[in-house]
């Protein structure tokens, strides 16, 4: 079957069973593979400029899919980023020969955003060295392909830490700045992208530009949370802080809405340094709070603990036992909860990461758990990002969708403190336009448990979650790749067309991450 390539910026019809999903208009999600015109000339040109271009199957196969494992594509060639100058040369040649370039950092996208459907795959992990740490000014300058974990390793040698980063060791700094990045301290410190002070960017036409809120501010605004459309981030200056271990507390709820109310209460009142919700389906809803200092913890205990409606582990266990004794037909669910608890909880309290009751390496603890208990070769994690007021409704509706589609799933909910001066950064991003003060995000992650689900089934699930966003007026963290059909539906044509026009001006041949959002 021939799938026609469509003009970047438009979505073609889906050629695969266009009427298979009732009520859902099918659009082409995985783009057609770029057919390779000019590839021989392009590859000769980049090699002549001293760029190593890897064309073996082994090299290309490494990047054939992303963490989602549902989108597959092969680049014509792979370039490992080695320097800003090299990236600039590559983009100039790509612009000249109209060859698409897909940029990959940690490759943790789930909708195929970092998968190359032909053209060049630019592997940014090749540029992953820390350039300079200023312990006095509390800043770090780093190459952008670095994993947050590698950055943490270097910072910790100087007793420093990053402000906030995804709870995943293998997210890259550049990739995170391009999409947002949430942590369990985002309700206090904002999304990870908000900690960037300055960037070195290679524009789609190959210019090397330094930008910040005060210098080339327009480029800075477009690149931050820009889904890789307006340049390749090659270096970043980030705020850092003194390292502190943290003390974690868990409170258990049987109701999502009650837990969300309490989470938002804590966030509004700056009652904790870290906060978030992690669930096992909607049966065990865990509000986690944590503190960087004894003083903050003591203040929480004195002022806020009694106001929380969640209970401790023992109390919750007792309540859950009674709940299932009275509902014996739900014993399967009870067994799953018990098993999950027995596997997961010790992992969150491994003694080698704890000292005197404090957690020393939160990103390590959570990231190991993320991959061990939620990771697999296939992952779908649709999400909703809303204002504080709409959040409980969005989560309840999304939870109902999860219940219908999967026997087991997890919800991860967290607040994001917004910075009013960063309004331009947030335009057409995961930050919903109507959010003020805080935005809230919820990830809906089914446990696939080794079962085989068709792509249609998974896509239907994601669509149902994303339809909620359209219905209530929300945004999404993962709105690129296979979900980009929702961009115009949530943001409207006027805004998307304005950004598309900016993209066409910045990237005349539409070569850079051309299929990610437009």
């Amino acid at each position: 079957m021939h799938v026609t390539d469509v003009e970047p910026g438009t979505l073609g019809p889906c050629h695969v069973a266009p009427d298979a999903l009732r009520g859902i208009k099918r659009q082409q999600t995985n783009p057609a593979r770029w057919s390779g015109p000019n590839w021989p000339e392009f590859s000769a040109a980049v090699r002549a400029r001293g760029i190593e271009l890897l064309e073996t199957t082994a090299a290309r196969a490494t990047f054939a899919t992303d963490a989602g494992g549902t989108a597959y594509g092969l680049a014509h060639g792979v370039v490992i980023a080695r320097s800003t100058g090299q990236v600039a040369l590559l983009l100039r040649a790509a612009q000249e020969y109209r060859v698409p370039v897909t940029v990959c950092g940690g490759g943790l996208t789930t909708e195929g955003e970092s998968v190359a459907f032909g053209g060049v795959l630019l592997d940014m992990t090749g540029m992953s060295r820390v350039l300079h740490i200023d312990a006095e000014a509390l800043t770090v300058r780093t190459e952008a392909g670095i994993f947050w974990h590698s950055l943490a390793e270097e910072l910790r040698r100087q007793d420093l830490d990053y402000l906030s980063a995804p709870l995943n060791l293998t997210s890259s700094v550049g990739g995170t700045l391009g999409v947002g990045g949430i942590d369990v301290n985002s309700a206090r410190l904002g999304c990870s992208a908000d900690q960037a002070l300055a960037l070195q960017v290679v524009t789609p036409t190959g210019e090397i530009v330094e930008c910040s809120d005060t210098h080339n501010a327009e480029l800075f605004q477009r690149v931050i949370l820009g889904y890789g459309q307006f340049g390749v981030i090659t270096a970043a200056t980030l705020r850092v802080r003194r390292y502190t271990p943290l003390r974690m507390h868990y409170f258990y709820y049987a109701s999502l809405s009650t837990a969300i109310e309490d989470l938002q209460l804590l966030d509004r009142n700056d009652a904790s340094d870290y906060s978030g919700i992690l669930t096992i389906m909607d049966c065990a809803v865990n509000v986690l709070v944590a503190f960087d200092s004894d003083e903050r913890e003591a203040a929480f205990m004195a002022d806020w603990r009694a106001r929380l409606r969640g209970c401790g582990e023992f109390g919750f266990g007792l309540r859950t036992l009674i709940h299932y004794v009275l509902r014996p037909w739900k014993l399967g669910e009870a067994w799953y909860l018990l098993q999950r608890k027995r596997e997961l909880f010790p992992e969150l309290r491994r003694p080698e990461y704890m000292r005197d009751g404090t957690m020393f390496d939160r990103s390590v603890v959570f990231s190991r758990a993320v991959w061990k208990f939620w990771g697999s070769r296939q992952m779908v994690i649709p999400d909703l990002a809303t204002s504080a007021a709409k959040f409980a409704l969005a989560v309840e509706r999304g939870n109902a969708v999860c219940r219908r589609y999967f026997p087991h799933y997890t919800l991860y909910l967290v607040g994001i403190k917004l910075r009013p001066e960063h309004g331009p950064h947030y335009e057409m991003s995961c930050i919903p336009p109507d959010a003020a003060g805080w935005a809230y995000g919820c990830e809906f992650e089914p446990m696939l448990d080794g079962r085989a689900y068709s792509r249609d089934y998974l896509q239907s699930f994601k669509n149902e979650i994303y339809d909620i966003g359209v219905d209530i007026g929300a945004s999404y963290y993962r709105f690129g790749g296979m979900m980009k059909g929702y961009i115009r539906r949530v943001f409207g044509d006027a805004l998307v067309d304005r950004h598309l026009a900016m993209k066409r001006r910045a990237d005349p041949a539409m070569i850079l991450n051309r299929h990610v959002i437009f």
């Binding site: 073996t56 082994a58 090299a59 196969a61 490494t62 963490a67 494992g69 992953s128 910790r156 293998t170």
Partner: protein, 340 residues
């Protein structure tokens, strides 16, 4: 393979299970040096998933240092060391295989060494054998009550064959294992050999030199808060779940720093590829031109305030001596040092 032993323990899961999480990259010394995913366990697994043969990824297979840091962090619990060794076996280089086989067969033909009457035995590696005074002290410390013997046959030829992925003749393996069977305790210096001995002799208590020595009260007592204690990574990662607790306990008692990263994975100080271990290359890797065998040791020291480096392995000690003026002491020499 009739007449040869399948010396590569079979992994629970193979390359097909790789989800591409990249956690192995974070701890891989080859990735740290090259920043080339193709040279990592992830790169090999992904290439194999797409039909690559061992020959297609030969450079990657040979560059692996077998430090095994990737195994404990793999959430899919893929047997990454076994996978690499299996790929090396598929890349059999006839001349090398023949040379190793001849060496092992010659060793097998030697007369039987007398079986020790003691309950424990120490198997030194060539680097420890090259330092007879340290080896003698290690043996004395471990056999404080006269209960440990120095192995006549330490299996250095087998260790090298394992490293190269070459098959070990069954006769040679039987000759090597025969005097070890039934012993209560076997202390091994070579981490790769230790990993295999745990498979071959599952009932024996097999410990690394580092663990055995650092369990002794007089050695522990000689550690100082300003020490950098360098764990030998191969043995540590082969028994990670148990040993992470052992060294965490040592940290809390001695207060010293370790060559551990934030995941509590041991950063290898003397990471060497197969060609380098075989003496075919002097630089750790000629592929990227930036080869520097001392980079790992420098990285371990970066930003740390230490006054002394304590090593479990002589190879690690040599790596630090190249990059630092700090005193470098083998664990076996610590007890003496503590008394002085």
């Amino acid at each position: 393979m009739l007449g040869f032993t399948n010396n590569t323990p079979q992994p629970h899961k193979d390359h097909a299970a790789c989800s591409g999480c990249s956690l192995c990259l974070l701890v891989c010394p080859v990735w740290r040096r090259s920043r080339d995913i193709g040279l990592t366990p992830l790169g090999r697994a992904k290439a194999l998933q797409y039909g690559a043969a061992a020959a297609d990824i030969a450079a990657s297979v040979q560059s692996c240092t077998l430090c095994a840091a990737c195994e404990p962090v793999c959430p899919e619990e893929i047997g990454l060391v076994a996978l690499t060794l299996d790929l090396r076996r598929q890349l059999a280089q006839p001349a090398l295989a023949e040379s190793l086989r001849a060496r092992m067969e010659e060793r097998a033909a030697r007369p039987h060494a007398p079986r020790t009457s003691l309950a424990a035995v120490l198997l030194p590696d060539p680097a420890l054998r090259a330092r007879p005074a340290t080896l003698a002290r290690a043996a004395a410390l471990l056999g404080g009550t006269g209960t440990i013997a120095l192995a006549h046959d330490a299996g250095a030829d087998i260790a090298l064959a394992l490293e190269a992925g070459a098959a070990v003749p069954a006769q040679r393996l039987a000759r090597f294992l025969q005097p070890l069977r039934g012993l209560k305790k076997i202390v091994v210096a070579d981490g790769l050999l230790l990993r295999h001995l745990q498979q071959w002799l599952p009932r024996s208590k097999i410990r690394s030199v580092g663990e055995a020595l650092s369990s002794l009260a007089n050695v522990r007592g000689a550690l100082r808060a300003g020490d950098l204690y360098v764990i030998e990574p191969r043995a540590y990662h082969a028994d990670y779940q148990r040993l992470v607790r052992h060294y965490d306990g040592l940290r809390s008692v001695a207060g010293c720093a370790f060559n551990l990263d934030l995941q509590r994975i041991a950063i290898p100080a003397a990471a060497r590829s197969l060609p380098q271990r075989l003496g075919w290359e002097t630089a750790i890797d000629a592929a990227d031109g930036s080869a520097d065998a001392s980079e790992q040791a420098r990285w371990i020291l970066q930003g740390r305030k230490v006054t002394r480096i304590v090593v479990e392995s002589m190879e690690d000690g040599a790596a630090f001596e190249r990059v630092s003026r700090l005193p470098v002491v083998h664990l076996a020499d610590l007890a003496d040092d503590g008394k002085s």
